[in-house]
Symmetry: C2
Subunit: 683 residues, 2 copies
């Protein structure tokens, strides 16, 4: 290519180059490293390589692009349209259309070949594609007695000649089938080639007679309570189904450490739990396949993220070591294996990739969230928090990333709260307290009315008002603080008994009557203590990371996970779960771990990206940090004993300081014991 040749620019990547007249557009794209899918190898039969010419003068790029600068539709594209239907407006097959002048070419993000598959907008993100599995249609020479190369060997020859696959390995399970498939396809077959690492040899993992024009992958996040999965086309990148299911591990124990205990106590415990989680993954796979009409045997690649204990159980590894210092992972690096090795019911040649774990308490799920949110890709100091039984915390920017876990315990999930319950119809999800009257108003899941609105009682008649869901507990405690019911030390002000019937005396402590029905829903002093302990653990972990980074504030905050999606960032900050920050910069990002898995599924460059990132992340073991205790004690106060929240104060009027001594209280020592006890349980 010389400067006098036509200039071709590809969007959205912006890659450009000069190419001689007559160069197929797909060839120009490949030379520039622009990913354009193709299965048929330029035969104009798969329709995967569609592009669109942009019309007009692009001053910024100094290009005038026009459909007259691309070759007109020739016999191959005409045949394609006869057989497969007309190409959408302006679409061209880049294997057949050639460069005839300067061009701006748009690579559509989606090329829908099988129109019946419906897209679900589960992940609102465009992921550039470079999947580890590629479909390659080839036409194999027929057997020749004079050149008695085996059928498979001739297939390998043409895969090298047409597609450049050298030193191809072949999955053993294909050997018995090769001859029948070749003959059924009348020597035209589609091969699925897996190559993840450039340093590994490519492997033939599946083979179909004729042109096979679709292949799928799953991206799955195995959480402690929920397993979430995306089913996605490896060819178009479309997410065709997303679903979730409860982790059946729950029957072995609600929290992770009770599952480790189950393994330690039961001789077959590890095996039973491994079987259960794999079965759940298989059932969820069946579900997403059924929803989208996809054959599970068309699933050729799978990517998983999980917390360390689920990661180990899923791989068949005894997680006992994770339950005790030094919390040694059996394997922390990324795992490459075969779906059949871990009994996944997908294509027998399908591959498995599992993201690396960051540390003994910061799993592949945190790595997935890190990949998704990319603190290391930008300049702002980003705090990424995934709150669960253990909070996984990542803090960093382009310069440096640090990570830790903090043993928040299950309070944020409503487990240690007297009226706590799972998010379900009837659960209180929103709370406001009038600082003058101390009267609350509430909203309940299943109703769109506040309790002071007309028709509220009718709207909750069916479900009743049954408890407080995990995220609302943050809100009610924060509102109690803002309305002066509790002091900065979290003590319910007993003096208010005289002002409001909502303040109840329980002997030496007091509680707040949130809803006077059946059941009676109160927030007790113990509930507040549980939230304080959890938020102090989280905040102390964040503070340690901020100290490591040498910063006194963070620029932006991401809440990952279901908890983060439901809480109001303002209240989280009022309680001091997270450090002061512009509220506009606090965002819930949903299942970021699952999004990270999806990115790694669709683009193997993202695998390399997170592998090298995880190697560079500095891990902090909170249990070993002498200052954790100090940060923890300061963080017991609302929002914090020593840290100020100037940005929060701009938007929320924080109450004047009110210090009350709780009868019999003595935080530090007791908490230290509690914390260590919990670490021992939850690892």
């Amino acid at each position: 290519m010389t400067a006098s040749d036509p200039l071709v620019l590809f969007m959205p990547s912006g890659k450009r180059g000069n190419f001689p007249l007559g160069t197929p557009v797909i060839e120009a794209a490949r030379q520039l490293g622009v990913y354009v899918e193709s299965v048929c190898g330029g035969r104009a039969t798969c329709g995967r390589c569609q592009v669109v010419v942009q019309e007009g003068h692009f001053a910024k790029h100094k290009i005038t692009s026009s459909n007259s600068h691309i070759s007109p539709k020739g016999p191959k594209e005409e045949r394609y349209e006869r057989v497969r239907g007309l190409l959408a407006d302006g679409r061209r097959l880049s294997c057949s259309a050639t460069v005839q002048g300067d061009l701006v070419i748009d690579i559509p993000q989606e090329t829908v070949i099988n129109a019946q598959v419906i897209r679900k907008a589960a992940v609102n993100r465009i992921i550039e594609r470079n999947p580890a599995v590629q479909l390659c249609y080839v036409e194999v020479d027929q057997p020749d007695m004079h050149k008695p190369l085996g059928d498979l060997d001739r297939l390998k020859v043409v895969l090298e000649a047409d597609w450049g696959w050298k030193d191809l390995l072949v999955s053993q399970h294909l050997l018995p089938d090769v001859q029948k498939i070749l003959r059924k396809g009348e020597w035209g077959v589609t091969a699925a080639i897996h190559r993840d690492l450039e340093t590994s040899r490519p492997t033939l993992i599946a083979l179909w007679p004729g042109l096979k024009n679709e292949a799928y992958g799953i991206a799955c996040d195995i959480g402690s309570t929920t397993i979430a999965m995306h089913l996605v086309s490896l060819l178009s990148g479309r997410v065709v189904a997303s679903s979730g299911t409860s982790n059946p591990q729950i029957r072995f124990g609600e929290d992770l450490m009770s599952r480790v205990s189950y393994v330690m106590m039961n001789p077959d415990g590890r095996e039973a739990m491994t079987k259960a989680v794999r079965q759940a993954v298989n059932e969820l796979t069946a579900q997403v396949c059924a929803e989208s009409g996809v054959d599970r045997h068309d699933i050729l690649d799978t990517v998983f993220v999980a917390n360390p204990i689920m990661h180990h159980l899923f791989l068949g590894i005894d997680p006992t070591e994770l339950g005790q210092a030094p919390f040694a992972l059996a394997v922390s690096g990324e795992v490459h294996t075969w779906a059949s090795e871990i009994n996944l019911d997908v294509n027998v040649g399908a591959r498995v990739y599992i993201l690396p774990c960051i540390a003994g308490h910061v799993g592949a799920d945190a790595a997935g969230a890190t990949l998704s949110e990319g603190p290391y890709r930008q300049d702002k100091m980003m705090l990424l928090v995934d709150v669960g039984t253990n909070a996984e915390i990542v803090l960093g920017n382009r310069q440096r990333v640090v990570a830790a876990s903090s043993p928040t315990g299950p309070a944020f999930e409503g487990a240690e709260i007297s009226s706590g319950q799972r998010a379900a119809p009837g659960a209180i999800e929103r709370v406001r307290i009038d600082p003058a009257t101390l009267e609350p108003k509430i909203r309940v899941i299943g109703s769109d009315k506040w309790s002071d609105e007309e028709g509220f009682a009718e709207s909750v008649a069916a479900t009743g008002v049954t408890g407080i869901c995990g995220s609302a507990i943050i809100e009610v405690v924060a509102e109690m603080f803002l309305s002066g019911i509790i002091s900065e030390d979290g003590v319910v002000d007993g003096a208010l008994v005289e002002r409001s019937a909502r303040i109840l005396s329980n002997g030496r402590t007091f509680s707040y009557l949130l809803h006077d029905g059946s059941p009676r829903i109160t927030v007790t002093q113990n509930d507040i203590r549980a939230i304080q302990l959890a938020k102090s653990a989280l905040y102390a972990g964040v503070k340690l990371l901020m100290e490591k980074q040498g910063v006194d504030h963070v620029d932006t905050i991401r809440f990952a996970g279901a908890f983060g999606s439901f809480i109001d960032p303002k209240y989280a900050m009022v309680l001091g779960l997270i450090p002061d920050c512009d509220l506009a910069e606090v965002k819930a990002v949903g299942n970021a771990a699952g999004t990270g898995a999806l990115m790694a599924l669709l683009n193997r460059d993202h695998r390399r990206e997170i592998e090298s990132t995880v190697k560079q992340i500095e891990k902090i073991e909170t249990a070993l940090e002498p200052k954790f205790q100090e940060h923890f004690v300061y963080a017991m106060a609302l929002p914090n004993k020593v840290d100020s929240f100037p940005k929060l104060a701009e938007q929320v009027q924080l109450p004047p300081r009110k210090v009350l001594a709780e009868a019999g209280a003595g935080e530090g020592g007791g908490r230290r014991r509690g914390r260590e006890g919990r670490r021992g349980r939850e690892g």
Copy 2:
């Protein structure tokens, strides 16, 4: 290294170089590419790296070598001797001994570490070692909460640091065991690393606590009637057991084509036959392990050769295509897989390597024999013949190698012979016929006396004389020819009825009474015809190859396989099975295919060698060669109608030409039909 540094020369390779004073001898060897085993990584605990210093002046190499030119035994070797016993006379540990002057170093072919294992001299050949599996002892860092790398990941770090294994893959089955093994070994473990091709990433396939100082491999030839196996130490190269067993496939049909038929006729036929052959391999593995006291879980690498049909059945491939033109192999190239993929009962991480097949009728067994005998390694024109139901024929030298198969049928195995039987006590194995009296003398398996010697009757009383074994049928027909009983056309001379009671009339043909007992053992006209058909097919194949090579004689002949080991080359040549050749150059080489497998097991360079050789071998499909028929007809005569045997004539007095017409005979056409029928059956 500079020329002023001491010169070190290694035997038997002859590799040499200059090394600075103080260089460990093993380091010098490695720099020169001389293979010295070591498991412990220079800790002087495994004792595998023993060498011997040659004393004296080596004029040819201009080196004066002396034990005073190597460092004296230091604390490490002294500790080794205290713990493991004294090193044999003159032996030194090359990891600890350093270069102190010019040295000639001998690498012993065997370093016996476990003295209880008895060597069997099954293969009298020194095979330079470069196995695909290597044992590597390492000491792994203990877990550190500040650097939360997983246990496996720290193992990988030290395997790279100590042994240079980069980008190590890990067999999935090890993940659940890594932590226990590391702790059991108190962080000292021995890893088995498999790397066959330099282009493939090395794989961790097994792991043991502490120092594991022995690992084994099996080399196996799966023949149509017999499966033969060597069990060998991958560390020392010693063959510790060799054994054979009947191929249970026999119950599905005596010859290969009846086995293909069984597959075609029975829906579960392929599966049953695959199961049967794998089970037989497993039973034979158990047997060689029991004989040598080896734990089958210590078998880490396996190499197989087989004819094409057994090759396919063993791999689970339907062999139907091999039964019909164009005789397409499913896979002709080498196969790399895991033992667990084909249900071999060895270490779960063990590997499988199967040599490439040469053509649809010239299998991996022929490739093994070719590797063993190496026609391509030398200048003489070598004919390599492996006689079975199909004869596999290879002809060539350093310049060019050609190969074919010929459908000899089962006559050479005694199957179409009226008194034929397997080689067993009671079978006639040697025959001489007096040309004057036409009286025979015989020897029988189980007796060391000729029938004209005193005590013969007593020596065979227990077994009786029951039949003619496969190899003796060659001898008896040749003796009948030499004594004038049959003509050059193979017709029994009926006129001799008057001279000898041994000549029996059977209506229109005659036969020869070899042994007048119970049973009566005769050689019929049909028996002779069967041998003629078989030998003509073999010879015609050889002639085609000679024509391809443009030679009118061969320099040297190798008979591979059991048949070749028992026949007398002279009689084979008298009958014209093989072309004229100096009898001293005709050698039986036993199970050369198995020896080739053993070479590929012990040295992966031999794998590359046979892979590239097979790619270059020119294959001739005898069925497609127009001249086959002509050669076949000429070869029906004894020894041949047109070819002369001058070298044979120097040692054997061939009878004067005698041409007799057999009643009702008409060779050519009938044979052609017979041949095609057989090709259809035997593929």
